[in-house]
Symmetry: C2
Subunit: 470 residues, 2 copies
């Protein structure tokens, strides 16, 4: 195919309604939501059916046109933003947004990639089931993007990452071949589990078009406690106690520093100081169960009583109503937005072996202070999974270009320390463009070689999401 033939053929194959080509219509698809990345594209394709995805990809491969799959554009690493090549095609899954089936006997849901996660959660809830994937962007992110990035969120401590909720996927390879892996079987030991490669591959191997997801029993009985802690070490002891005593009921164990509370109180509305005193750290614990509200409340009271007696926390506030429960959660949920309102900052989504978090945080604080004692850390995250959002805001008085000017040096310190502690440089946000250099620099060469060779198996022409991940 001549390069000039590509776009007319694409329009002819899919229709002008599906292929967006006017520059002013394309423009909104070229940047990530944070405005960190901006690229170019000759077209945006918005297919409605898997056959259209197939046709689009086959034509792109024939013409060696790079393809950038895109979901809800809520990613934090620029994986769904095209690079600077004007030849890119952005493939948006937003119109493939049907729930194909919900089965309350098999406890499965088959959803197309463009479904908004929050809508899927509500659809499951209406059928008295739970889709446990829950994260801040759930009302704008799409399940296809969640799958492609193996999203995490607040309930991983109980239910695992997105990967662990997937029974099967349908995907289109760059050849246009459809991977018909939409099986909803709980057990299927027939060969290599290929879907695992596509999950978390950030659009570099193919395009996920639908998934069969596990649904869990609804756990409407909930109880939340906010516990004040003097240190991450104390939070760790509290986690051990809760994990052993509460078992599967423990569905969130979130940590944030006292500085995060200051930030939220300064920037968010309708948030209240949780205790009479400001404490160095806070842990938000949620227990949930299918049944017996009083038993759950009693268990939480009892375990927190033990924790207070044994010095595993300094203070605690247990939710006595749904309104209180939501108020406690709001303290945690508003941190990201408060930090954005505060101004330039650097996000670091990392994980550590959980028992090393206290030592990591001490050591990391010293490194940051040595770099610039004015840097303001706002550290929070999914502590129960060993996952910290180690976010650093500009020093008071630093200019609006602080993150741009100092980001590389600051982030290098964090990455080095994470690697030194045996952690991961991306716990749940993925690699994308943002962390690609650090990924290529820190990953084991053998793993990188295997990944590159697997990439060639799926995408021999190298058209899938170039410049991301690998």
């Amino acid at each position: 195919m001549q390069p000039d033939d590509f776009l007319p053929r694409l329009v002819e194959a899919l229709g002008p309604d599906t292929v967006v080509t006017r520059p002013e219509d394309i423009a909104p698809w070229l940047a990530d939501w944070r405005g960190l990345y901006r690229g170019q594209a000759q077209a945006v394709v918005r297919p409605r059916r898997v056959e259209e995805v197939s046709r689009a990809l086959a034509l792109c491969q024939q013409a060696a046109v790079p393809v950038v799959p895109r979901g809800g554009n809520t990613g934090l690493c620029g994986a769904a933003t095209p690079d600077g090549s004007p030849r890119n095609v952005v493939l948006s899954l937003d119109r493939m947004n049907a729930i194909r089936s919900i089965d309350t006997i098999a406890n499965t849901m088959v959803a197309e990639a463009g479904c908004i996660l929050g809508n899927l959660r509500r659809a499951a809830e209406a059928e008295h089931r739970l889709l446990p994937l829950s994260l801040a962007a759930e009302d704008s992110c799409q399940i296809g993007g969640n799958l492609a990035t193996n999203a995490g969120g607040v309930n991983v401590v109980r239910y695992g990452m997105t990967r662990e909720l997937v029974l099967g996927i349908e995907a289109v390879l760059p050849t246009g071949e459809v991977f018909h892996g939409l099986r909803a079987l709980r057990k299927d030991n027939t060969g290599y589990d290929l879907k695992q490669l596509l999950i978390g591959s950030e659009g570099t191997l193919g395009v996920i078009t639908a998934a069969a997801l596990r649904l869990l029993p609804r756990t409407d009985v909930r109880s939340v406690v906010l516990a004040a802690v003097e240190s991450p070490a104390q939070a760790l002891s509290l986690f051990s106690l809760l994990y052993a005593r509460c078992g599967a009921r423990l569905q969130a164990f979130e940590f944030f520093t006292g500085d995060c509370v200051d930030l939220v109180l300064a920037h968010a509305e309708g948030v209240q100081e949780p205790f009479a005193t400001r404490y160095p750290g806070y842990v938000l614990v949620e227990l949930a169960d299918t049944t017996d509200e009083s038993a759950l409340g009693a268990l939480l009271e009892q375990v927190i009583g033990t924790a207070l007696d044994d010095g595993l926390c300094l203070d605690a506030a247990v939710s006595a109503s749904l309104a209180q429960l939501q108020a406690l959660w709001k303290l945690r949920e508003e941190i990201s937005e408060a930090q954005r309102a505060d101004g330039p900052h650097l996000k670091h989504d990392v994980s550590l072996p959980i028992e090393r978090i206290p030592a990591f945080m001490d050591s990391m604080a010293q490194r940051v202070a040595r770099l610039d004692p004015g840097i303001r850390p706002f550290i929070f995250g999914h502590f129960g999974d060993g996952n910290l959002h180690y976010n650093l805001s500009r020093p008071a008085g630093a200019g609006p270009d602080w993150a741009t000017r100092h980001g590389k040096a600051v982030t290098a310190e964090v990455i080095d320390e994470v690697v030194r502690y045996g952690g991961s440089i991306s716990a749940e946000h993925g690699i994308g463009q943002l962390k690609r250099d650090d990924f290529l620099r820190t990953k084991d060469p053998l793993e990188l070689r295997l990944m590159s060779e697997i990439k060639r198996v799926f995408d021999p022409a190298g058209i899938m999401n170039p410049g991301k991940l690998l």
Copy 2:
């Protein structure tokens, strides 16, 4: 390397104690435990350290010598038995049997491949933690084999397959390169999740030498009910009720037919008739929790009361003591052994979309009866996962060679029906030699092509476990 040089070099590299070469010493390593398969080998290698595995594999690859990894030899599909080539090397992991660490803060255990599963379970228990993988062969199977076959078992309904318990693995590729993936992180979104390929690959990609496994809270509070059901459809309704009401407490939901009970009563010792009447089917349900025995018992009584009132079961016996609990489990656990004692039979480990089990069982019964009305089905399995062991015993009066003579035709009927119902021809036992032809015949050609190409990435010389799986 000249072919004649290989064995001396292997002995030189690893020592005579590690390389078994005398035919009489090799003989016990050449057959599967059921005696269905027997092969040949020039040596058995029994390394003690990952470096020895590496050296052995590098030499095998240089000499193009086929390698057959072997764990506890409890597999049912012949994946760990060499084929007929006298050049094979059997690589036994039995001496790599150290627990490298147990961490009760991170809730992880790092175990070498040769560790006996039951020993790992007990080691976790001693630290007040649970390794939830549990299956009939647990006191002889090795964790490396469990990983290589993605083993299932009785608690999958709650905890998932082996895959879902693995945080990281160490493996050796046929090049001798060591895959250092022994990370114990709960979250790590840095590129393709390569360990997922090795898990369930049945030794065709490399040799798993160790794994970091998740440990769960110990659930010492247990309650079991045996419910009598008139049909698989009724069992399905009972499952729906229990799943929704008991949530994560539901850790086993096993089904077996009345015929299985007859078989067990005829062949096993110390087993008692569970009810005054023989029923068409039985469901064994286990609930477990970290705490509050009386609440768990009350919940089970309540839910079973609802089930009896609503006609979701015919009769029920709740365990009132540990002895009763064990007696109820014995009915289920003795089925395999009773069927073996009864004589020749054919095992079919299949899974179905759970809501289709009743229709499948009806339809399958007709097909079997049409083939030979004398065939005696003994059907049991992990119903809650959609997993049936659809086992068929020889008709009364048929000779000892019944399985050999009729196996192919009988199994073909089962496979066809499973495929027609959208099921899997191997739920938890894998493919090995036994199901290879059926696998290659029924698997999607695109998936087979991807698997073959991935195999070439890991094992370009094709030395890993030839004739198994792919």
